[in-house]
């Protein structure tokens, strides 16, 4: 294990007299920085896009990826074969202060309306809608306020609704597709019967009228002691003697009826050790082949289940291995025409497309690179704390 050492230090720093300077005063000063404007000695950061969510539109030959590192959306229309080592030039990149893009996570495309939607997962608390032809520092077509920690997005065209998974509240909230600004959800799936625990990926199967949701298993449920033990209660229960009972549940894929609302039990749940689920992130339903594909972040694999799998079911195929290039996948999307499975990797600046029957240590058909091949990444996703391990000379950074 490499140790980090303090470097030789050649910089002299003076403590400034205490006193606050406004932003406008900075602009009025001469070219010398004020004493507290001390340059960093070192900075660990990634200048390249880190790919999170992914969505494919075969009609328009487009792959769209969300990038929380540079806070952008990237649109690709060239899909190089595996083996390329240079970064793939995006057709367009949407980035800048006008875009409202921040710590973007799930992304989806709406070919019918030529729009892309992405969820801001951190304190932005919004879903941003961009037209297909947006480029650069573009204004969104719409911005919708959503609950804190929105992650996954799915579109129901028959209902004309947008479904949003919300991690911390173990919920799926639904809005009108064209909702914008501040609008209340039209319905919510939430409650103890749903079994959701830290939900992430979501997929809307309109052919079979089902909605699938991937949960990591981190559960903070509300309980009340009714005198005969603790019973689960609705999250909005106002009883003063509610307590939170945190639990670690196994990860799962829960499948709900498309019209589900309130505290509704799922139709099926894929859960158990045979499933190999390990931090399941994005999920996609391949309606033509009756399969569910899962971006399995924890062990860098793609799991494919039978669409009607339930219980402690094994995947029908697993794509995993050094030749696959899969490295901490986040998003997943199925090309409805070719059946190709696209996956976005947070761990190595890439998006990969596999043939729909790929299995094992398969080589991808296409590789999109957001950085030159082999470029390392710190893997930051809004690091909000730091600790120093003085024993090893290491800096610990959580994400």
């Amino acid at each position: 294990m490499a140790k980090w050492c303090a470097g030789l230090l050649l910089l002299l720093c003076l403590l400034a007299p205490a006193g606050l300077v406004s932003f406008s005063e900075y602009q009025d000063r001469d070219s010398k920085p004020v004493p507290e404007d001390i340059p960093a000695l070192r900075m660990v950061a990634d200048p390249f896009p880190a790919l999170n969510g992914i969505a494919v539109d075969p009609e328009n030959h487009l792959v769209v990826a969300s990038d929380p590192n540079r806070k952008s959306l990237l649109l690709y229309d060239k899909f190089p074969p595996a083996g390329s080592s240079t970064a793939t030039a995006p057709a367009r990149q949407i980035v800048g202060p006008n875009t409202n893009l921040g710590m973007v996570a799930g992304v989806l495309v709406d070919p019918q309306h030529h729009e892309m939607l992405t969820a801001n997962n951190d304190i932005e608390d919004t879903v941003v809608v961009m037209p297909y032809d947006a480029n650069g520092n573009a204004n969104p077509a719409r911005v919708l306020s959503v609950p804190h920690q929105a992650w996954g997005l799915a579109l129901g065209r028959k209902h004309d609704e947008l479904a949003v998974s919300v991690e911390i509240f173990n919920a799926v909230v639904f809005y009108r597709r064209e909702a914008h600004g501040v609008e209340a959800p039209v319905r919510v799936i939430r409650g103890p019967k749903t079994g959701m625990a830290d939900p992430h990926g979501i997929a809307w199967d309109e052919l079979h009228d089902e909605i699938a949701v991937a949960s990591h298993g981190n559960f903070r449920g509300l309980y009340r002691n009714n005198g005969a033990g603790c019973v689960p209660v609705e999250p909005d229960d106002k009883e003063s003697d509610t307590v939170e009972i945190g639990k670690f549940r196994p990860p799962s894929i829960s499948v709900f009826s498309t019209d589900a609302k309130g505290d509704t039990a799922p139709l099926r749940v894929i859960q158990g050790p045979k499933t190999q689920l390990d931090w399941p992130m994005g999920i996609a339903v391949d309606v033509a082949r009756n399969e569910i594909a899962v971006a399995n972040n924890g062990d860098s694999s793609i799991l494919i289940f039978d669409r009607k799998a339930a219980g402690n079911a094994s995947p029908v195929r697993v794509i995993r291995g050094t030749h696959t290039g899969i490295d901490h996948p986040m998003g997943i999307s199925v090309d409805s025409v070719s059946g190709d499975i696209w996956v976005s990797n947070f761990g190595n600046h890439s998006a990969l497309a596999f043939a729909h029957r790929a299995s094992g240590d398969a080589i991808p058909k296409h590789v999109i690179l957001s950085a030159p091949k082999g470029t390392p990444t710190p893997g930051f996703g809004n690091p909000m704390a730091v600790a120093y391990d003085c024993k090893r000379g290491e800096i610990l950074v959580p994400n």
Partner: protein, 285 residues
């Protein structure tokens, strides 16, 4: 000396680790060589061995109804007295556990109640020498006695326009009678209560990362109380700091480590003067 576009030397990750993909606090226990991490989405405190790597399980987990943990967000370690202190994001409380607590353990103390004025807590730090506890509240820093328990008022408060703190002061650490703070000043306006819109929600707030009131690293004395400017700062365009949230100290090498949300990176500052005793009050100079 990590610098630039580099990969970490090791990563603790995966389902077996019981980590959530939302971690806003951690602390390193040098005495026991352990890493302490809150999992807010599972109401748990995880303790890993210091050399943990990969999908490695924690060696202890504090979780259960008796813990009274509610969205644990930030942790600080009192190695001298053998305690883990936990700040709650939504539960308006500070829970204190024995350092080796495990399972459904009762806290040793809980600071909670209306007199505390505790609100949205995102950071805390303990000073075992002076027996003080600093808590990053919604818009200020509250100072308690280390052994306070129950519904008690803070003994001091650092807040107000002269402090430069506007919103969500974040990670903090004590050193030799000084409080070091990552004052993020990112502006988080939450329109929802859970998944329900609040009644007064009408407009989409401005992008919090574009708040022109930038954040900074600030240093105060533990005796400071009121609307007092920091005694030392790091901020400005050359510093690269925009809205800092994470902060860790390495006094032996004169370094401060800062994570910045907008940069999505981790910066190292060499500021040995910040740690020298004679410079603890630069305003006297």
């Amino acid at each position: 000396m990590a610098n630039g576009t580099v990969a970490p030397t090791r990563v603790i990750t995966g389902q077996n680790s019981k980590l959530g993909r939302t971690i806003h606090g951690l602390a390193y226990d040098a005495k026991h060589d352990e890493i302490v991490v809150p999992n807010a989405l599972a109401d748990a405190i995880l303790v890993f061995r210091g050399g943990a790597n990969g999908s490695e399980a924690p060696i202890r987990v504090i979780q259960g109804p008796h813990t009274e943990l509610v969205t644990p967000h930030s942790v600080s370690l009192d190695v001298e007295h053998g305690e883990i202190l936990v700040a709650s994001l939504t539960g308006k409380r500070i829970n204190v556990f024995a350092w080796d607590a495990n399972g459904d353990a009762k806290p040793l103390r809980v600071i909670r109640g209306p007199k505390t004025t505790l609100g949205h807590l995102v950071g805390l730090a303990v000073d075992p020498v002076r027996n003080l506890l600093a808590v990053a509240n919604s818009e200020d820093v509250l100072i308690f006695n280390r052994t306070d328990n129950g519904d008690v008022p803070p003994r001091g408060r650092i807040g107000g326009p002269h402090t430069g703190i506007t919103d969500e002061p974040w990670q903090m650490q004590f050193f030799d009678g000084r409080i070091f703070l990552a004052a993020s000043n990112h502006l988080h306006v939450n329109l929802y209560s859970g998944v329900q819109l609040k009644k007064d929600s009408t407009h989409v707030p401005d992008d919090p990362w574009l708040n022109p009131t930038l954040g900074f690293i600030g240093v105060w004395n533990v005796t400071d109380d009121g609307d007092i400017p920091p005694r030392a700062m790091i901020r400005g365009p050359f510093s690269g700091i925009l809205h800092p949230v994470g902060l860790a100290l390495n006094p032996a090498d004169g370094e401060i480590y800062v994570s910045d949300s907008v940069r999505n990176g981790m910066l190292t500052f060499f500021v040995p003067d910040f740690f020298r005793k004679e410079n603890s009050d630069s305003r006297k100079q």
